[in-house]
């Protein structure tokens, strides 16, 4: 019997058998819940009022989009995403170039140090930064006062500085990943390119823009994709440092969804907010994949 099954069919069968557990798991615990959330988003579904659960159409969405706080958290999310990404790229590039320029032993050491933030739980990093920037008990103000600055700056009660602390904490956690990716990319660039550029009289800066950057384009796009998602999905850092304050200035889309769901216990509205986030993420993914795909064709 076995002989009659073609190689192609057998491969198909084996392939599907092997990926089945992973695919089913991903569908069951990833995709199906997202679909259920989508269906909740059209319901009046409040945990404190469970007997009243009913279909309300688009009302949750109308309520969310009609509230000025939605546009505020959307703006916060965008600000957070852009600034943190810029900072992380800057630090990531610096880190990668420093590591690339270092000798073998030094590179190992720097790489080790750079990995530490990656391995520390986000919530712990959040508390670390909250403590660092605590204006009474934290060291940042003490150090600033030694440098001639204010010893009493209140970081977490002003919208812009609270956002800065959140961004700093996120950047501290995330840039190692970027640095490592960029370093891996840097090491694939053939040294001859730089040598021939040097012969042509190109300076370091010129070769950075003409050789380094173009060669890292693919990795940069992947990094940007990952970090955009990361910025939209950030939770523990905000949960730990500001809880969305002051005056909701660090509350993001996702944090707002969390508050609807698990503080207000409003599953309908929270699900609608979660669905909006999912849609934004899907849109960005598609955009990036298009760009990445185009690059692959080139």
């Amino acid at each position: 019997m076995k002989k009659h099954i073609s190689r192609e069919k057998r491969d198909n069968l084996t392939g599907y058998l092997l990926i089945a557990p992973a695919v089913l798991a991903v569908i069951a615990i990833g995709i199906v819940p997202v679909i259920i959330t989508f269906s909740y988003s059209f319901e009046y579904y409040q945990l404190t009022d469970p007997k009243n659960r009913h279909f309300v159409g688009l009302q949750n969405y109308i309520e969310i989009l009609g509230n000025s706080s939605f546009w505020m958290v959307l703006k916060n999310t965008a600000i957070f995403a852009v600034i943190s990404m810029a900072l992380e790229l800057l630090l990531g590039f610096t880190g990668a170039l420093l590591m690339n320029g270092a000798g073998k032993a030094a590179r190992g050491a720097v790489r080790t140090i750079v990995l530490i933030p990656w391995a520390v739980p986000g919530i712990i990093i959040a508390y670390m930064f909250q403590f660092l920037f605590n204006n009474q008990l934290g060291p940042v103000n003490v150090i600033l006062s030694h440098l001639g600055g204010s010893a009493d700056f209140s970081w977490l009660t002003k919208p812009w500085s609270a956002m800065f602390v959140v961004v700093a904490a996120d950047a501290w956690k995330q840039f190692p990943y970027i640095a490592l990716m960029l370093l891996a990319g840097l090491q694939t660039i053939p040294q001859e390119l730089y040598e021939s550029a040097a012969i042509d009289g190109a300076g370091k800066i010129k070769s950075f823009f003409h050789i380094t950057l173009p060669n890292l384009k693919g990795i940069l796009l992947i990094v940007l994709l990952f970090r955009t998602m990361g910025a939209i999905r950030i939770f523990d850092i905000i949960f730990g440092i500001t809880g969305g304050g002051p005056a909701s200035s660090t509350s993001t889309l996702l944090y707002q969804a969390y508050k609807y769901l698990f503080t207000d216990m409003n599953y309908g509205k929270g699900s609608a907010m979660s669905t909006i986030i999912t849609l934004i993420i899907l849109a960005i993914s598609i955009l990036y994949i298009r760009v990445l795909g185009k690059r692959a064709e080139e």
Binding site: V32, S39, K51, S69, Q136, T157, K158, G243
Partner: protein, 422 residues
């Protein structure tokens, strides 16, 4: 769609992986008036051991009841989240819960708490009026008053001989002492965007003759409120209070005060015992008084806080659960709680107990403040009201938006929310 997906998820999850089962049988039954079986009680974290001793006393009286005590460490919002999820699922456990007074109406409206009107009515004369009121929702009782709390003025009695009676006096006393004797700040309070904001801000407003709910509607956009907001902003801009108070919780103020850096502090009753610990720099230098009043205010009233004990409506051992909740709030149990946990009893008799007064001599002086304490708006969905108040108050205090427009917008938002609760 929903059902299909749920079934799919369930099917895949059970795919030979799982046998997880947390179901258990605690079928406590009361047979013929005898109270027995098992009950679970959930309280906030208690490191003093008071709850343990209270439960031991309960066991002596009800030896046939087995009590499981679970503690939920975390801020009260986290505790609340855990409780709500259990209730919403219709769990029979926990049977008895300790709940913040501001949760009672919401939980009762959601039909999660057992009606204990008969039981409470029988003993209600034993309790202080303010805390007792927090046990009621819509004319029925859903909880027993456990301990009470109130916003108080703490002052350094080594530097000043009395607490200020008015805002003007507060400011002038602060100006006189700031910069001397290690006093960096005149007055510290807590205005974190969370429950501290309504607690503190409503206090300021009410000390200035203002109000929150008036005749069933929110009408806070008036001079009394604006004046209170300006006063708070003035405290910060004049350097009497650090700007940080806008991000502080009670403990942040306490640590500044305990370091000897502040002349006055607004805080809850728990703070007193903490200022008298060995590591405190103000040990033996702290006086307690009522909060000062504003120019339009007449009588001082701090915000009412505190906790109650309630019974899960779905409890599978009603008799034992009610007996436990009742016992934990009785004179005998509250005496243990007061002496060991330094919380303020709701049972009047405890205030007259000699042993208690020996352990907590300041109890009598606070009693009048506790009597006058003002509750936060007692509406069905208080959390929504609180969130709105936090948001708009911070728009003014931190965001610098104008008093009148912001407060008018807040009234409107609050009244819209109120409409939805009907």
């Amino acid at each position: 769609m929903k059902r299909i997906s749920a079934v799919l998820l369930a099917a895949v999850l059970t795919l030979g992986l799982l046998t997880g089962c947390s179901g258990k049988n605690d079928g406590g039954k009361s047979t013929g008036g005898k109270i027995e079986g098992k009950v679970t009680i959930v309280t906030a974290n208690d490191t003093t051991g008071a709850v343990k001793h209270m439960l031991e006393a309960f066991q002596k009286e009800y030896p046939d009841v087995e009590v499981e005590h679970q503690m939920l460490p975390g801020a009260s919002d986290d505790v609340k989240k855990s409780l709500m999820t259990s209730f919403a699922a219709g769990d029979t456990d926990p049977d008895v819960i300790a709940c913040d007074i501001i949760w009672v109406s919401q939980f009762a409206a959601a039909d999660w708490l057992l009606d204990v009107t008969t039981e409470l009515e029988a003993v209600k004369d034993e309790y202080l009026g303010g805390p007792l009121k927090t046990c009621y929702y819509d004319g029925k009782a859903y909880a027993f008053p456990d301990y009470t709390d109130v916003g108080l003025m703490y002052y350094r009695n080594d530097l000043v001989d009395h607490a200020p009676a008015t805002w003007d006096e507060l400011q002038s006393m602060c100006r006189e002492h700031q910069g001397k004797d290690g006093i960096d700040y005149g007055f510290v309070f807590q205005m974190f965007q969370g429950e501290p904001t309504p607690c503190n801000m409503l206090e300021f407003i009410k000390q200035n003759g203002g109000h929150d709910l008036l005749n069933g509607r929110f009408s806070m956009a008036n001079e009394n409120t604006y004046e209170a907001l300006d006063f708070v902003k003035g405290l910060i801009s004049d350097g009497i209070s650090p700007e940080d108070v806008l991000g502080w919780r009670p403990d942040d103020s306490l640590s500044v005060f305990s370091e000897g850096k502040a002349l006055f502090m607004r805080n809850w009753t728990y703070a007193y015992a903490r200022t008298q610990l060995d590591e405190s720099k103000v040990q033996g230098k702290v006086g307690v008084a009522a909060l000062p009043v504003g120019p339009n205010g007449s009588e001082s009233s701090g915000t009412l806080g505190g906790w109650n004990l309630a019974v899960n409506k779905n409890t599978d051992n009603k008799d034992a659960a009610v007996a436990l909740a009742k016992f934990m709030t009785s004179y005998e149990a509250q005496k243990i709680a007061t002496t060991e946990r330094s919380t303020f009893p709701t049972n009047k008799k405890v205030y007259e107990d000699k042993e208690v007064l020996e352990a907590l001599p300041y109890l009598t002086s606070v009693r009048s403040a506790a009597d006058k304490a003002a509750p936060r708006p007692q509406v069905r969905d208080y959390p929504t009201v609180s969130t709105i108040i936090q948001e708009y108050m911070h728009k003014v205090l931190a965001g610098g938006e104008p008093n009148d427009q912001t407060m008018q917008a807040m009234d409107q938002a609050l009244n819209e929310a109120l409409e939805k609760m009907k």
